[in-house]
Every structure is written in structure tokens, then in C-alpha cells.
């Protein structure tokens, strides 16, 4: 029986702490904390992310503790 391809899961969270190399600790809506890096598209468009921002994080189905920040909400 074929298996459905696992895709990234998108979750919202609030940035808690800033770390070197455009990495941040983000606390998710479900109270999990993940290590997330800023996506290249945000960097390319000079969109800054700071602690306290509400962001969208893409999580890999293979490691739910690491993610990619793909959107910063107003």
C-alpha cells in the first residue's frame, strides 16, 4: 500500500530569544519550544525578526524541534 508523502507542518509561534546566525527560539501555540532559523526569502527581502514577533514556522516531520521561520505577521 502506498504511503502518503509527509510534508512540512506549518505552525504559528512567538519568538522568545534571538541566537547567533539568524536563529531564534520560538514558542509555539502548543507551548512547545523549537529552534528555528530565518528563511532565505525573509533575509533576501530584508525582513527582520525580533523577539516578541509572531511568526509562522515550518516544521519538518522528521524533527519536530527544529523549524524554519517563513513569515512574520504584522
Amino acid at each position: 500500500m502506498a504511503r502518503k508523502q509527509k510534508e512540512a507542518i506549518e505552525v504559528e509561534g512567538k519568538v522568545t530569544e534571538s541566537l547567533p546566525n539568524a536563529s531564534f527560539r520560538v514558542e509555539l501555540a502548543n507551548s512547545h519550544e523549537v529552534l528555528a532559523y530565518v528563511s532565505g526569502k525573509l533575509k533576501l527581502n530584508f525582513i527582520r525578526v525580533l523577539p516578541g514577533d509572531r511568526v509562522l514556522v515550518e516544521l519538518s516531520p522528521y524533527d519536530l524541534t527544529r523549524g524554519r521561520i517563513t513569515y512574520r505577521f504584522r
Binding site: M1, A2, R3, K4, Q5, K6
Partner: protein, 260 residues
């Protein structure tokens, strides 16, 4: 369990996988012989179930919940024409000119076998004939890349390049998978990808490789029954699958009758 979640089977467990594979192969053969215009898909299902249980195994699809709301209700998947995979057997009668994909899975002493084939019913169009042959061959190309030391991406790339060279679209939403103690284990085995990438293939691993090729676009749609998947554009599609174990002797297909 290793960090990447891939289970390794002991020689004893590999032996059981071979048995499970042979049972699946026999069930496939029985169903293949019963495919005629006028046969109901339900009959094929019942035949497969009798065969599997008669050989001392349990159907692995029946009751299977794959993150779906509804457990799969049958022993085999019967997918006709534009149905890609996971068709549910029922009252539908096969017609001359149809092509049907049959997927069979069984558990023997706790180890799994999973295999599928696509077959024409009566006389079919040369187009359909060509699709089926190409899909079967794309699986063989993928299997030829399986050896300890290779990567999953080698299989994926082999399937993709052959399929696309033949002019077919490779389905990306459904993938092959590791197999063994569960039907679906790590790693995912996509039918598209780059050679040299992906998890390392090691001795003791078992993979279910299952290329799905469409005549039209690669997009698929899920039907309301919660299981049946069809091509989004209604075009014909085919599916072949084998379970392969990796041993010191290299890759062995467990779901071909009489082994390798």
C-alpha cells in the same frame, strides 16, 4: 533503533520477510488468474483473503488506519483505470479494456510483505499496454539500484529518469516506504529525486518500492470514501510494487514467486 528510525532486520527476521513475500506473491498470482471481464472486484478480494489466510498469514490492509479516518475495509486494493491506488473492492464489475491495479499485503509471523501490479482486462489499448510495461520497467530500474552502500535517492532517480524518458508523469504525493515489523516504516522512498541523496541503504533494511505513473499530470485527488486516490485529470495510471530485502548477497525481491 538507529537515529534515522530505520529498523534493521536480523537474518531470522529476513527469512520471515521472504516467507511473507512468497505468500503475497502467491496471492497475487491467484488474483491475476481470476481477472476477467465480468469479475467483481469483491471476488478478487475474497480470493486473496482466502489465499493469504490459507497460507498461514494475515492480510495487512484490512483494518489498517494510515492517518485516515476510516480503516481500510478489505484485503487488497483494486484500482481501475483513472484510480491510482487504494481502490476499495466492491460490486464493480471489470470490463473488457479496463486496466486494474491490485495491491496485496500480508503479515507472516509479524513480518510484512507488500506488492502490487497493474493488469489489463481482456483486450486493452496499446497506450495502456505501453503504460503498464513502462511502469513495470521503472520498478525494475529502481530495484537494480538497491544495494548496501547506495542511497535511497539512487532508486528515486532511476525510477524518475526512466519514467520521464518514456513520457509519463511520476506521482509525487505517494511514496514507497521501509517495511518490516510495520507496513509503513522509515524511510520514505519517493519515485523522484536526486541520485546520491537520501538515507544510506544498509544490510538488514527492507524497502517497498512502488512507482506510480500517470499518462497525464502527476496530480492526484482523494475521493470521498477516504481512501481511493484518482488522477486529478482523469488520465490512466499504473502502479507496480515489490518488497526488497538487503542481505549480504545484495538485494532480494521477496514478492516474486520463488524468490529472486
Amino acid at each position: 533503533m538507529p537515529r534515522d528510525g530505520i529498523t534493521i532486520k536480523s537474518p531470522g527476521e529476513i527469512k520471515l520477510m521472504r516467507e511473507a513475500g512468497q505468500i503475497v506473491a502467491k496471492a497475487k498470482a491467484a488474483v491475476e488468474n481470476a481477472v476477467q471481464p465480468g469479475t467483481e472486484t469483491r471476488e478478487l478480494d475474497e480470493l486473496a483473503e482466502r489465499e493469504i489466510r490459507g497460507l498461514g498469514a494475515i492480510p495487512s490492509f484490512k483494518g489498517y488506519r494510515a492517518m485516515a479516518a476510516v480503516p481500510f475495509p478489505a484485503t487488497i486494493c483494486t484500482s481501475i483505470n483513472e484510480e491510482l491506488v487504494h481502490g476499495i473492492p466492491g460490486n464493480r464489475k471489470l470490463k473488457d479494456g479496463d486496466i486494474i491495479s491490485i495491491d496485496v499485503g500480508a503479515i507472516y509471523e509479524g513480518l510484512h510483505g507488500d506488492s502490487a501490479f497493474t493488469l489489463g482486462v481482456g483486450d486493452i489499448d496499446p497506450e495502456a499496454e505501453r503504460l503498464i510495461a513502462a511502469t513495470r520497467e521503472s520498478l525494475n530500474r529502481g530495484i537494480s539500484k538497491v544495494r548496501a552502500g547506495a542511497r535511497i535517492g539512487d532508486i528515486s532517480a532511476a525510477v524518475q529518469t526512466f519514467a520521464e524518458k518514456q513520457g509519463y508523469a511520476v506521482v509525487t504525493q505517494y511514496v514507497g516506504h521501509g517495511i518490516g515489523f510495520e507496513m509503513h516504516e522509515e524511510p520514505q522512498v519517493p519515485n523522484y529525486g536526486e541520485a546520491g541523496r537520501g538515507p544510506l541503504i544498509r544490510k538488514g533494511m527492507a524497502l517497498a518500492i512502488e512507482p506510480m505513473l500517470n499518462v497525464g499530470t502527476k496530480d492526484t485527488k482523494q475521493m470521498d470514501d477516504g481512501w481511493t486516490v484518482v488522477t486529478a485529470d482523469g488520465s490512466l495510471c499504473a502502479h507496480f510494487e515489490h518488497t526488497i530485502v538487503i542481505t549480504e548477497r545484495g538485494a532480494e525481491v521477496t514478492t516474486r514467486l520463488n524468490g529472486d
